[in-house]
């Protein structure tokens, strides 16, 4: 029998279209998410909820401020667009932790939970009598996960500074050396864009939340072996810093402070964005033969002497990169992005060094990305049919799994939408009790 092609075989097993027919990896886990003014916590609990964890998302009665952090102040059916994407699969309850009675309710929920996520300033949960030291007495198996700007200990943990994403990016070190270079002889007044530049998305928050998800899952594995819970501590600044690859070693070894290098790459050649007739492409050739193939693809094999090149390191110094970038950009500017992408694909089939070929990729707007058939086919932009918000597009199915795929059941919930169900399910509170608690401002 002819063996089925790998890509067909695996697609039959991990296509997001059949995700709902499969089991969920975390469907025996209950997570209490108390995130406040922090997208990091919300993102973290989303990653667990996508795998089937039952996430009880507790907000103050007026809703978390993060719901109002939305581009240009736009609301969709009353909801901010970031939160609309990150309320996924969670049950939303209200709980006013300023009130002692609410803290007792929290303790009852903790007794029945596996994971607690919180993002308050360090010390506040202790002041409320619901810090880890107290809660572990109630539930020794609890995994208590704190995400803050500077972490739970160390001299700066006492800071009261709110930890917004742009602050994380600034302190991480990763904004400082990112951005366009100031052209020689120019000033910031003339080029206000040639400054340390942060990334557009909330990457500081997202990285912190993702690290915490990894920590929680490692702690869950440990708990399976030992029945022991523990406290976890992520400083968002450290989390984002740790994505940096070489600057700290360079500074220690050579005393060099990494500075902005625009669309080139201090870490090596060929690795840059290059201008084209209609936009830009990414060029990647991190092996000598790929750089040679790129020169050949442009018809510059002889003129540039590519046959005699011996070591990519010869091209990777600052001066050489600037020199070669000028030559390369002059060539790429003659073509459209699409032409260059095609040239690389064809070179990989018929070129002198084939199958070796450089990486050439278009630089797309998110609008183009969202229309791209490849991604639509792979299910990342499949609209979610939400019972409250209707059809909504959020990025989903970011990894494909053969046995326990993730899924998005709903995108979001209004504030307190699940109070009735969750308080009944976990604490046996019926309508009369809920009404009283609501009147007392507890939920």
């Amino acid at each position: 029998m002819e063996k089925q092609r790998w890509q067909d075989w695996i697609r039959e097993r991990d296509d997001p279209r059949i995700a709902s027919t499969k089991p969920e990896a975390l469907d025996d886990i209950t997570v209490l998410d108390l995130s406040y003014k922090s997208f990091a916590g919300c993102y973290c609990s989303s990653l667990l909820a996508e795998f089937g964890a039952e996430v009880l998302r507790a907000e103050p009665p007026g809703g978390d401020f993060i719901r109002k952090c939305t581009p240009y102040g736009i609301l969709y059916r009353g909801e901010g667009l970031n939160y609309l994407s990150e309320g996924r699969n969670k049950f939303h309850i209200t709980l006013n932790l300023e009130k002692p009675e609410a803290r007792d309710i929290l303790k009852s929920l903790v007794a029945q939970s596996d994971v607690l996520i919180e993002t308050f300033r360090p010390g506040l949960m202790d002041e409320w009598g619901i810090g880890y030291e107290r809660l572990k007495e109630i539930n020794p198996r609890l995994i208590y996960a704190s995400i803050t700007l500077f972490g739970q200990f160390g001299p700066r943990s006492h800071s009261r500074m709110p930890g917004y994403d742009n602050i994380i990016q600034a302190i991480s070190g990763n904004q400082y050396d990112n951005g366009e270079m100031l052209p020689e002889g120019k000033t910031y007044d003339e080029c206000p864009w040639a400054v340390p530049t942060k990334a557009g998305p909330w990457i500081g928050w997202v990285v912190a939340g993702t690290y915490m998800a990894v920590g929680i899952l490692a702690a869950l594995h440990w708990r399976e072996l030992t029945r022991e819970g523990q406290a976890l501590d992520v400083s968002a600044v450290e989390a984002y810093t740790s994505l940096e690859d070489w600057a700290a070693v360079w500074y220690q070894g050579a005393g060099v402070v990494s500075e902005r290098f625009g669309n080139l790459n201090i870490g090596g050649w060929l690795y840059c964005f290059a201008p084209t007739r209609d936009g830009a492409v990414f060029l990647g050739g991190l092996r000598l033969e790929m750089w040679q193939a790129f020169a050949d693809m442009l018809g510059k094999w002889d003129e540039w002497g590519a046959a005699d090149w011996r070591d990519l390191a010869d091209f990777s110094t600052r001066e050489e990169q600037l020199k070669w970038a000028e030559r390369v950009f002059a060539e790429t500017s003659k073509y459209t992005s699409e032409e260059l992408v095609r040239m690389a694909v064809e070179y990989g089939q018929k070129g002198r060094l084939a199958p070796i070929t450089p990486v050439v990729a278009p630089v797309c707007s998110p609008e183009e990305t969202m229309r791209e058939p490849n991604w639509l086919d792979r299910g990342i932009f499949t609209p979610v049919q939400d019972p409250v918000y209707g059809e909504v597009i959020v990025a989903q199915a970011q990894y494909k799994l053969s046995e326990t795929p993730i899924r998005t059941k709903w995108v979001c919930r209004p504030v307190g939408y699940d109070n009735e169900y969750i308080y009944l399910k976990y604490l046996g509170f019926g309508p009369r009790k809920l009404k009283k608690l609501k009147e007392a401002g507890v939920i």
Binding site: L81, G154, I167, V206, A213, V249, V256, L283, K400
Partner: protein, 444 residues
């Protein structure tokens, strides 16, 4: 006190167990997207065996900032590769493939980042491995996943390609300027991190059921997942998301400002108290009462946001970053200088927490590495040792893990299934290596 659980955390790290103790990982990975994932697991205590094709090994071994090599080692290789065992294994050879299968039979997790189908061609794909070890968790990390048009075209990818194709770079720049590639290999590092969420969820599922599984991760899809508002915004408004420089379009005010001394400070003051505090600090209390800035949703509206950010920018130009940091502390909003790598490495706070970890490596000597940034009170992750030349731990892995005899090992070298480093910078040991330091077995 919260600090109780964290008392002496840094000092007591090594008297605690590691959370992934006893988990064995095989990696066939190059560059950053691949090796970083097992690198995270290695910090959490998994035993990671890194297989490289001898004698040149991982392509990342060639990469270094402006060609600066740290003791002859690639500066970039260090971060993704702590605590690993280094095997020079040639998977092109049948004997090498057989060796890999022997290791796979004893492994819990396999990670690879070659083009789709290559591992299967080498007889070590998921179908072949799961037949001998059904509990295996097997992750493939690529630019475009295992199926779909781009995978069919066998397109290569890099971090920069994913930054370009996802739209991440397009919105991370100043309006009217060309798209800006982020200086981090963010799609590599983040893709790898996100991949471990799936790997560890699969491990938890295996703890419960004994079942393994296959996972595919596309680094482009991983980074798209981080771009939260962008997708519903485009669907709902019918417009493309636009770049906004250092301004956060979802939080107002939140931006980076130029100070009197030409340094830069990031400021954020979106909630009502923080905003009032900022207005007071600027000596402009009336702004807090201004209807254009009445509440957060109002401030976020384009015209109002540009207005208030302009006012703050003019004020910041008359102050130093330090003055603004002090005022933020006093008035209760957020402000910080933009830190350089020098500030990061010299941070006393990170030292005190042990995030900056002192590694005393037998080959590389003493240096600071970043510790895994999740501090775990009972099972502290940690860096123990650093990078090694290609094939450095062959003998240890063959003898201790696979129980091979000296004769068998010799044959494996002879047929080329095993090999060691080339005498090339980035592959060979540091120049001051004494021929023994760091070797576990066979030091004579």
């Amino acid at each position: 006190m919260a600090e109780y659980s964290w008392e002496s955390y840094k000092e007591t790290k090594f008297s605690k167990p590691l959370p992934l103790k006893g988990i064995r990982v095989l990696e066939v990975c190059t560059l950053v997207l691949g090796p970083s994932g097992p690198g995270f697991l290695a910090r959490l205590g998994a035993e990671v065996i890194k297989c490289e094709v001898p004698p040149m090994g991982d392509t990342l071994r060639s990469m270094a900032p402006f060609s600066y090599f740290f003791k002859d080692q690639s500066t970039s290789l260090i971060r993704p590769n702590p605590n690993k065992y280094w095997v020079g294994l040639d998977l092109h050879k049948p004997e090498g493939q057989q060796l890999f299968l022997e290791l796979a039979a004893k492994a819990d997790i396999i990670e690879e980042n070659l083009r789709p189908g290559v591992m299967e061609r080498w007889n070590v794909g998921y179908r072949q491995i799961s037949a001998i070890n059904p509990g295996i968790i097997y992750i493939s990390k690529t630019g475009f996943g295992q199926w779909g048009q781009y995978a069919e075209e066998n397109r290569p990818s890099n971090d920069g390609a994913a930054q370009g194709m996802s739209g991440y770079a397009w919105i991370s720049r100043f309006p009217g300027r060309p798209p800006l590639k982020n200086r981090l290999y963010v799609c590599d590092s983040y893709g790898a991190l996100l991949g471990e969420v799936a790997v560890l969820a699969a491990l938890y599922y295996r703890d419960r059921t004994g079942k393994g599984q296959y996972i595919e991760l596309s680094q482009s899809e991983a980074i798209m997942r981080t771009m939260s508002w962008v997708w519903p915004y485009q669907q709902i408004t019918g417009q493309g998301a636009e770049p906004a420089g250092n301004r956060d379009v979802s939080i107002c005010p939140a931006d980076t400002f130029r100070c009197a001394d030409d340094t830069f400070v990031a400021i954020a003051a979106p909630d009502e108290e923080e905003f009032r505090g900022l207005c007071l600090a600027m000596g402009r209390p009336e702004l807090a009462e201004d209807p254009r800035f009445a509440d957060h949703l109002t401030r976020l509206q384009e015209e109002n946001a540009l207005e208030i950010l302009q006012i703050i920018a003019e004020w910041a130009r008359t102050r130093t970053a330090e003055e603004i940091e002090r005022l933020a502390e006093e008035y209760g909003f957020a402000a910080s200088r933009v830190y350089s790598i020098k500030d990061v490495v010299e941070s006393e706070h990170s030292r005190a927490r042990g995030f900056l970890a002192e590694v005393d490596d037998p080959l590389l000597g003493e240096f600071l590495d970043y510790e895994f940034p999740v501090m775990m009170s009972r099972t502290s992750p940690r860096v123990r040792w650093s990078v090694r030349p290609v094939g450095f731990d062959n003998e240890y892995v063959m003898k201790y893990i696979l129980g091979k005899s000296e004769d068998e090992i010799r044959q494996l070298y002879q047929c080329g299934a095993l090999g060691k480093w080339a005498q090339v910078r980035g592959r060979r040991p540091p120049p001051d290596w004494d021929g023994k330091a760091g070797l576990i077995l066979s030091r004579e």
